[in-house]
Amino acid sequence: MSTDTIVRLPDQSTARLPKVNFITKENGLLSWLLTGDHKRIATLYLISITFFFAIGGALAGLIRLELLTPQSDLMSTDTYNKVFSMHGIIMVFLFLVPSIPATLGNFLMPLMIGAKDLALPKINLLSWYLYIIAGGMILYSMMTGGVDTGWTFTVPLSTHYVNTNVITTGLAIFVAGFSSVFTGLNFIVTIHKMRAPGMTWFRLPLFVWSNYAASILMVLGTPVLAITLVLVVLERAFGIGVFDPAKGGDPILFQHLFWFYSHPAVYIMILPGMGVISEVISTFSRKRVFGYTAVAFSSVAIAVFAFFVWEHHMFIMGVSNYSTLVFSLLTMLVAVPSAIKIFNWSFTLYKGSITFETPMLYSFGFMGLFTIGGLTGVFLASTGTDIHLTETYFIVAHFHFVMVGGMLMAFLSGIHFWWPKWTGRMYPEKISQLAALITFIGFNLTFFPQFILGMLGMPRRYAAYPPEFQVLNVFSTAGATILGIGYLLPILYLTWSLKYGEIAGDNPWQATGLEWQIQSPPLTENFPEIPIVDYEAYDYEWLERKEKEVTRVG
């Protein structure tokens, strides 16, 4: 690791956190629970999301522990089924979907576009309360027996063949869905209507573009999940018959309706992460993102194409062979914009001036792991190989590579990058670089063997497996232990940094972007005066001129 760093902190002997900021502005629990301030809501979200991530992670630990041995010996098969189901539900709906939008997005969106808050602060707060209600319902469901349907709620299993808390959990996800819709709605309206003067669309940071694309998906896709869950609940409670072959219904209809949301959902999860990567790579190479327009448009292209590929989750389910041609082709097309982004980020490094602080390390991890995850997606988009690989550990490995190796790394990258802005303090650099390395190693050890297991044919959601798969499973569990340490460390040292971290000042990274031109932590109203923007995004030359100017004046 180079000792060269772009970090420039104020003189620590005299530096203080600004006395008035969004944290100190008002005191008392109610001022937080009834706030309209997007930064406080983002903080509330950050705490809640971390809480649920910890629960989901503990469940993952239980899964890997069980899978150390071929027999179903650590817990009963029923319990194991509940453990992986709850792991999926919590991780997807209570962590991945809200993660970056609800925390970093909420915090940064108005700052990046030069607004004083999101368009609808009360709706923003409502969004958080809906999230908490959903989380509470899921916790309640867990404590009273959980569900064992898998996070995909396949009918008729979930409607007629299990006696677990399907209805409670289904309704909980319904509520969480509306939390998501309101966040997305808020973002779209804010970006359209509340940009500062001079902040044209093509001057927006790419983080805004990515969240905008993700918000489109949230707004248009999530209601379909909501109605699907309603139908499942009605089918289970009242036997309306839409999914029951005995009454003339069709369980494949559920698959279509469910995946119509759940495929765009994966892009909801990854697009904001891609936005973070754009910001981080740019800052730590001191360069405008290569091909800004291409990256911006590719985000929107992904959002549009996302709605037209859902049947690739159903290739073996007896759908028309000709329909698979259409969806396989479209899935290949949706892979291209992601590839474009990876190359654009790589070339952002070209002729840059690169340093390797923690956010940059996580971003590099993202680029490698997301490339692998994305390419293995092509294995699954190709119908011929999908037949062999679907519903095996290959799928599990694929989505963990893109979601954990991709999205979660991007999340950590963003948290570290904007931590100084959010809290006014720097995180400890050395231990965080170590944690990034541990996470990367642990991740690969955990999930790469699963590609091989999948190719061998080991099915997913199996509590017990043939003994010849054990060696790879043991590797995977060993990796999971290391990964767990890698995730525990940030929670510890970031909390430590709240009291003992170095004072960061306004712009420790010397980044461009409106959020770095104001104090850390920001004022409640963000900007004392609404800025007028007359320069492009990632304008490092403007930044240099500004610096020279200030020193001249000073």
Binding site: P156, Y161, G291, G352, G384
Partner: protein
Amino acid sequence: MEHISHVLWQFLVKWMTNFALFPPEASKIAPQMDALFFFMVLISLIGLTVVVLLVIGFSILYSKKRHPVAVQIEGSTLLEATWTIIPLGLFLVIFVWGSLIYFRVYTPPANAMNIYVVGKQWMWKAEHPGGQHEINSLHIPIGRPIQLTLISQDVFHSFSIPAFRVKREAIPGRYTNVWFEATQTGTYHLFCTQYCGTNHSAMIGDIVVLSPDDYKKWLSESTSGMSLAQNGERLFASLSCNACHSGKPGSRGPNLAGIFGSEIHLANGSTAQVNEAYLRDAILNPSDHVAQGYVPIMPTYQGQISEDGIISLVEYIKTMNSNDRVEQTLNTTTLLPESEGKATTAGQKSGGANPAKQAPASQGMVKQ
């Protein structure tokens, strides 16, 4: 695959199989799928290498120490075009290649031997046309195309044979099918690959590929009585199908002899191909499948017959070439035509010299 030395290929596959890194290739389609798989692995490795080299290379060349001042570059349309078109081109090649394989797997040849598989929580029941029944296993001969007609009795299951590189969902409510041709004797894994509840991971078994002689031996050893068609004939009588589908002129139901595989004209003007799915649907939803010239009076058998029973009936109708035996059974049932085809006490004497088993007295749900 043709471009790689056969020896090298065999070595690679054997080595990886022995180290449990790769499943055996035991079907005709397996090497074809593996070829595409390895092509994609190669492309992925190249792609990953390119990205990693770019990132690491640029990081070294342009680290702050070596390159303290960044050069602002807007972009390059040429590069954008390159890394759009090349991946797109590769993906399209993969798309075409993969689709060819997919169509191959899910388009059974006409001469395939058909085996029915019924999935239920938590076991697989295989029913051979000769009447052999297996649970959680499937004995098949090497070198013959085998088609599986799958259905589930309850929830979604998925019949997976990794060594053959095939799997297919078993869905409640309709048939799905898949075919393969085994190329290597041995015993291979059978998995259920659609989560189906508590004992999903116990719904596993063996696919046993036998030489033709061993298969013949197995067939004769494991016959448990009636073939599927024979059982179907029994049901045809006991469920009183013969009352309307007697084959006599002026009968209330169309003649079923030789109907399988033909195209029939329906009363609503459309035509339909008479295959297994059509027959199953016609038994359960008859008013949607009224043949031209007939009226919708056939009652539905939904709830009165199991999936196994339907399979037997379908097999029987498939093999029905004449109505002679139907005529004989007509004399032995005690059914009155007006009683809507409800199963009543079946006939005491089965027709002809065939010493078929006695049909047990049955009301309501007809077993097996």
